[in-house]
């Protein structure tokens, strides 16, 4: 009998896993609550350059291979002992193998004033409609301060706010408001970027773009009436328009046993095998797990490959590899690290921008036909292995 695999969530990780497994002949059911898959980095271009959201959205049913049983439904609870998944519609699924790929959920209520700020200005994390709201405010800001901050240091895509700062500063320059609007990037980290190695490379670029950097600033509360943000480290910032990255938490579902979730709801896994603690038939991939690495599409994609290989019977291991792109005007760099090796120095270059543009162009295809891209990505990741490149970097 063919093994029955249930995949929860048709984000980056879930689509790659489901499409790979069905091409290996598994009986695959994929559950997703939304009709559309969003290319999340696209929210940056919607919020800071006014792009149309449709550019970054595709119907989920066009991204799955024939043979995948796609259910439009919301996961409510999972019982790992009974091997069942309960859906909002009342349906119950059972499985031989389960892959949880439900991403993060956002908490706008732990930081006082945050929900009100978000409802007013939007942000570039929570969805295309909120990114469009932010664009409305950014594009009509004639003078004053645009503050880009975060409520917590653990959020997906560590360089997202840096990209936001670069993109908004170019937009303001193009609109001729560069001298009237100050872009302030205020983040919890010690340096301009979480890793000092990359901070040394990114900071001069931010300076060149005219971005003001504030370090060790973790948003503690927001006073929307008086337009002020207060930090946990004891400082305050005034703003005219502000976008604060929300606290990222694990998926909002009930899991039995509850002990497989950490205090923020992230699912505890073995960081190499991605098996959920105590269960060898359940995996959690991508943003929803507690692996000590960046939460990015790249890690979700690589995690999906590892889990599929393990289901196929290979002893594949997840390396924690990151490859977070930072795009600036006409150039780009990548933040490269793994469990085995801290971040290496990688300089900005036009060639890396071309690579990043190629990765973006390949995105939809890499979700639907991941097997076609495996050798390309494998070659790239081997050539840029941080343990091989070492301190001299790239």
């Amino acid at each position: 009998m063919t093994e029955k695999v249930v995949v929860l969530g048709a984000g980056t990780g879930g689509l790659v896993a489901a499409n790979l497994l069905v091409s290996h002949g598994y009986d695959v059911t994929l559950v997703e609550k939304k009709d559309y898959h969003l290319f999340q980095p696209g929210m940056l271009w919607i919020a800071f350059q006014g792009h149309d959201p449709s550019k970054y959205m595709r119907r989920v049913d066009t991204l799955v291979k024939p043979g995948v049983n796609l259910l439009k439904d919301t996961v409510e609870s999972i019982d790992l002992n009974e091997r069942t998944v309960k859906l909002e519609s009342g349906k119950t699924l059972d499985y031989d193998k389960l892959i949880i790929a439900l991403g993060v959920s956002y908490d706008y209520d732990s930081v006082p004033g945050h929900r009100q700020l978000w409802e007013t200005y939007g942000d570039y994390f929570s969805g295309p409609e909120h990114a469009q709201r932010l664009w409305k405010h950014v594009s009509s800001l004639r003078e004053g301060k645009l503050v880009l901050a975060a409520a917590d240091p653990l959020y997906k895509c560590p360089p997202a706010p840096h990209k936001a700062a670069f993109l908004s500063s170019y937009t303001l320059k193009k609109m001729g408001r560069k001298d009237k609007v100050e872009v302030i990037l205020a983040l919890p980290f010690i340096h301009a970027y979480p890793s000092e190695t990359m901070a040394k490379i990114v900071e001069p670029k931010l300076e060149e773009a005219g971005v003001t950097v504030m370090t060790m600033f973790t948003v503690e509360s927001i006073d929307v009436e008086n337009k002020k943000i207060y930090s946990m480290e004891g400082e305050e910032l005034e703003y005219d328009v502000a976008a604060v990255i929300p606290i990222n938490k694990g998926p909002q579902i009930e899991i039995t046993p509850d002990s497989v979730k950490d205090e923020d709801g992230f699912i505890k896994v073995n960081k190499y095998t991605l098996e959920v603690e105590g269960f060898d038939d359940v995996y959690a991939i991508g943003d929803c797990n507690n692996t000590p690495t960046s939460k990015t599409g790249v890690t979700a994609h690589l995690g999906a490959e590892v889990v599929v290989d393990r289901i196929l019977g290979y002893d594949a291991k997840f390396t924690g590899r990151t490859n977070c792109p930072i795009v600036a005007n006409g150039t780009a760099t990548f933040v490269i690290s793994s469990y085995e090796h801290p971040v290496i120095p990688v300089k900005f270059s036009k060639f890396k921008r071309m690579l990043e543009d190629l990765f973006i162009a390949a995105y939809w295809s890499s979700l639907r036909d991941p097997e076609k891209w495996r050798s390309v990505f494998k070659a790239y990741f081997e050539a840029t292995d941080p343990t091989k490149l070492g301190e001299s970097g790239w």
Partner: protein
């Protein structure tokens, strides 16, 4: 009552150990002790800079067999 919070950040990739320290700090109150274990060599200067900025107290900063241990007494919470 004061608590001791142990943060194990050994073998973490980017964004690294400071992330875990900041998150522990949000939950902490004055009088608590935060102990961080890390293998990222950048953590040593980072934790010193963080303590200096936030005004908390660095009780211990040692390195043994490639593992950095920082013990912080929380004193600067509002």
């Amino acid at each position: 009552m004061s608590e001791k919070i142990v943060v194990d950040a050994r073998g973490t990739a980017c964004p690294g150990p400071i992330t875990k320290l900041v998150r522990a700090y949000r939950q902490a109150k004055n009088g608590d002790i935060i102990e961080v274990l890390a293998t990222d060599p950048g953590f040593k200067p980072d934790v010193q800079a963080w303590v200096k900025r936030t005004g908390n107290e660095l009780v211990e900063l040692t390195e043994e067999n490639g593992v950095i241990k920082a013990v912080i007494k929380v004193t600067a919470k509002k």
